[in-house]
């Protein structure tokens, strides 16, 4: 019964001329507003991070029409997928851009690199073994050994330089993270103000999305949004970066063992917690993996190689006799790739090389040199299955395989990100054809409503002239 009454009431209202005018006016307003939304969409069709808007047009109680809401067309599932894919892409990108320099360190050519330096070193021992009293052969050996030591030194220092370079990138990345979190907190505040004032928050939400996407590339994060649209951000280990308008920053502290920068999370009270090991993805995670895992493991093998050459050659040298019949001195000083060097006494006077196995064998006994030369075929590595050159070749191959797999991961992750980007854009980006269609529809609805107005005008005229 009540329904019938209402309907009757409405029918009565509609039938008045002013009622009809109001209806036509609401239509003119509505379609003007809808065309404005369409025009914003067209204007922003190429704007990165722009989410298309849709004017929600609904019939109003008075028989007219109204734009009840300007909706942001948005798929939160696709967006979240994109964030996490973007984090992984950041990791591989960071690894790719840094590991290629590491690969350069191990890129031996036919006449340059550790492999040929080792070969030249063993060859020089052969020549000393052939003619132990020949001073030329001894000088050649001293200089080949020097080249070998220098090659180890420069590979080791190249690796350190790359680590230091990555260290700088880590600090830059942290600065970017802190900047982004500050901007996110700032945008959160604007959103809360706009929501309170009842003004449009869509543009702010687009900004927020872009900032979060940018942040996701740098570090692994979890996000959550409250009803107003404010975003909270936590690191993968649960440490909070942004909550509402508050931020927590990341900082660094020098690791006393490695001299490299550890990452710390600064609490509200200002105390710092080291969280380096918790960061495994994003650009930051990628940098850390190359800096703290990959490069140290390569250096360790390089050191093992250098130390083994130093130890074995020195052991033979100190048990042999030099050209003066004196007991041999250590051939190399140092104990790793970084500090390996030819004993300066030997560089100054190659006759101190202990080529003879016995004091009586001086000067022409080269059997100690022969034993040194034969070290190159000794199976000293990997449970007595690999020679020096096998071991180094395996190391280079390992570096190459790592680079290769990083390249592959990067490439396939790019495809994945592209896929999620498409999924997100499929929902959120502007289609010019769609907008043109809407424009046509809104335009004709607007014209028709204007026609209604002009008919009403004629009707009123008729009424007045009666």
């Amino acid at each position: 019964m009540e329904d019938d009454l209402l309907t009757k009431k409405e029918k009565t209202k509609m039938s008045t001329i002013s009622g009809i005018a109001n209806i036509a006016l609401s239509a003119l307003n509505t379609y003007a507003a809808a065309i404005s939304v369409t025009s914003t969409n067209i204007a922003n069709s190429e704007t990165t991070g722009y989410t298309r808007r849709q004017a929600v047009i609904e019939a109003s109680g008075t028989g007219g029409v109204d734009v009840t809401e300007v909706k942001r067309i948005y798929d939160s599932f696709a967006t979240n997928q994109l964030l996490s894919a973007n984090t992984d892409l950041g990791k591989w990108e960071a690894e790719q851009e840094t590991i290629s320099s590491v690969e350069g360190v191990f890129s031996d050519t036919e006449d340059y690199g550790l492999s040929s330096a080792m070969s030249d070193f063993w060859d020089a021992w052969n020549d000393v073994a052939n003619d132990a009293s020949d001073s030329t052969a001894r000088s050649v050996l001293a200089s080949a050994a020097d080249t070998l030591a220098n090659t180890f030194n420069s590979m080791s220092s190249d690796l350190s330089n790359i680590q230091n370079d990555i260290d700088n990138r880590v600090v830059e990345t942290l600065n970017s993270i802190n900047e982004l979190t500050a901007q996110i907190a700032d945008t959160n505040q604007k959103i809360s103000k706009a929501a309170a004032a009842g003004t449009d928050t869509n543009t702010l939400k687009d900004t927020l999305d872009s900032l979060v996407l940018e942040l996701s590339e740098l570090v692994d994060i979890n996000t959550s949004a409250d009803s107003a649209g404010q975003v909270s951000i936590q690191l993968a280990d649960g440490k909070i970066l942004v909550e509402g308008t508050k931020t927590w920053s990341l900082s660094t502290t020098t690791n006393s063992t490695t001299g490299l920068q550890d990452i710390t999370w600064v609490s509200e009270s200002g105390s710092e917690t080291v969280i380096t090991d918790d960061i495994t993805s994003g650009k930051l995670g990628g940098y850390l993996e190359v800096r703290d895992e990959l490069i140290p493991s390569y250096r360790e093998q390089l050191d093992e190689l250098a130390a083994s050459i130093i130890d074995h050659i020195n052991a033979l040298q100190t048990s042999g006799y030099d050209l003066n019949g004196d007991a041999g001195v250590s051939f190399f000083t140092g104990g790793s790739a970084a500090d390996m060097a030819v004993n300066s006494a030997i560089t100054d006077d190659p006759s101190l090389i202990a080529a003879a196995a016995t004091a009586n064998g001086v000067p022409d006994d080269g059997s100690n040199a022969t034993a040194s030369a034969e070290l190159q075929n000794s199976l000293l590595f990997n449970s007595s299955t690999a020679t020096y050159s096998d071991y180094y070749a395996a190391l280079v191959s390992k570096v190459g395989a790592t680079v290769d797999s990083i390249n592959t991961y990067y490439s396939s992750q790019s495809d994945t990100v592209e896929l999620y980007q498409n999924q997100r854009d499929s929902v959120s980006s502007v289609s010019l054809d769609e907008e043109t269609t809407k424009l046509l529809l809104y335009q004709s609805a607007y014209s028709a409503s204007a026609k209604v107005m002009s008919y009403l005008d004629e009707m009123l005229q008729t009424l007045i002239e009666m």
């Binding site: 492999s115 073994a129 052939n130 006994d365 050159s389 490439s411 499929s426 289609s431």
Partner: protein, 375 residues
């Protein structure tokens, strides 16, 4: 799926970039002429290339060691055959003396034999490279030489060999200018058969200390019957043995032991010479020494055979290394080249075509009319 203009543009961009990267890879292969330009291009082939190159370098060094050994052997062989032919000459002289056919006088034979003796000693003292060839490891010392050194005022002991026991020995020490500076006579020490060592004080005949330096000496020994006892320089080297690496854990040893090679020759020649100067009975002299010389010649020829065996061993080793190096070098260049130059060029053309297709698609898609162009 809903597709928008910006999605299409971005996808086009993405694929153009990917295609560009492939094009770059393909053109690097063609430009560098090799498929592997960095370890990540093919990690396992890179390892193979590195070990192959190390092996090639190692084998190259073995070949260089072998060629060093071959030169040494060639030199040694020349020396041995020269000594062997000198010994044949000595044997002829010995036989001539016994038959008495020859018109030459004993004195002339002595001169001839002395010259042979000295030449054999010279050969035994051959220089090779920077040192003496047949002193074993003691390449700084001549193999057979009656010499003695005073260093920092300390004189070496005087060392020499006697063919048989003597009753008195006279040593004359001469300085580098040829002046006799000291004469030592001994009837007790330094008179036994074989190697003898006599110490001296380093003083000259007037009792003054001699300057540091090298001095030579002569030995004259007489037995109880008043006959000369043959003396000769002692071997001053050691048994040496030059070890040359010719392969992985494989070596040959070159015999540079002067005592083993020339000791007997020098001993027999010195005895023959002493006997010839002294003999009353040429027939006894001949039967004594022609047989001994024959034995010595056989010994030296046996050494030559040993050398020639080593030479053929070395030649085999070189042939083997040559083959291995050739096959390894081939393997390395195959690995580097990968599927080959032609294949790389084909790949490049394919990537060029693919890239052109991508960009022309992009161009036609991006300039395509949209709905707005028809209203």
């Amino acid at each position: 799926m809903r597709i928008t203009n910006s999605m299409m543009a971005r996808n086009m961009e993405y694929w153009m970039a990917k295609q560009m990267e492939k094009l770059n890879d393909a053109s690097t292969v063609v430009a560098s002429g090799q498929e592997i330009n960095k370890p990540s291009d093919d990690p396992s082939a890179t390892a193979q290339i590195l070990t192959d190159r190390a092996t090639i370098s190692e084998y190259g060094q073995y070949e260089s060691n072998i060629s060093y050994a071959q030169t040494w052997i060639k030199t040694s062989d020349t020396t041995l055959s020269a000594v062997s032919s000198l010994l044949e000459d000595a044997k002829d002289i010995v036989l001539s003396v016994s038959s008495g056919d020859d018109a030459a006088t004993t004195e002339q034979y002595v001169t001839l034999l002395e010259s042979i003796y000295e030449q054999v000693i010279d050969y035994a003292n051959s220089i090779y490279g920077s040192g003496y060839m047949y002193s074993g490891n003691k390449s700084g010392d001549a193999a057979f030489e009656n010499s003695v050194t005073i260093s920092s005022g300390n004189p070496d002991s005087i060392v020499y060999d006697l063919a048989s026991a003597a009753s008195s020995v006279t040593i004359e020490i001469t300085d580098s200018d040829g002046n006799v500076v000291r004469t030592l006579t001994s009837t007790t020490t330094g008179t036994s058969a074989g190697s003898n060592t006599l110490t001296w004080d380093g003083l000259d005949n007037s009792g003054n200390a001699l300057a540091d330096g090298d001095y030579t000496f002569t030995v004259t020994a007489i037995d109880s019957s008043g006959n000369d006892v043959a003396s000769r320089p002692s071997y001053r080297g050691d048994d040496g043995g030059k070890e040359i690496i010719i392969g992985e854990n494989s070596t040959v040893t070159l015999n540079n032991d002067g005592s083993e090679l020339f000791g007997d020759a020098i001993k027999v020649l010195s005895q023959a010479l002493t006997a010839l100067k002294d003999t009353d009975n040429d027939t006894i002299f001949a039967s004594d020494f022609s047989d001994e010389l024959s034995d010595v010649i056989n010994g030296i020829q046996a050494q030559e055979v040993t050398l020639s065996n080593i030479t053929s061993q070395l030649t085999n080793a070189t042939d083997r290394l040559d083959t291995l190096i050739t096959s390894l070098t081939g393997q390395v260049s195959d690995l580097l080249l990968g599927s080959g130059k032609e294949q790389a060029a084909v790949e490049l053309t394919a990537q060029e075509t693919a890239y052109e297709t991508t960009v022309s698609t992009a161009a036609s898609v991006l300039k395509m009319n949209t709905l707005k162009d028809y209203i």
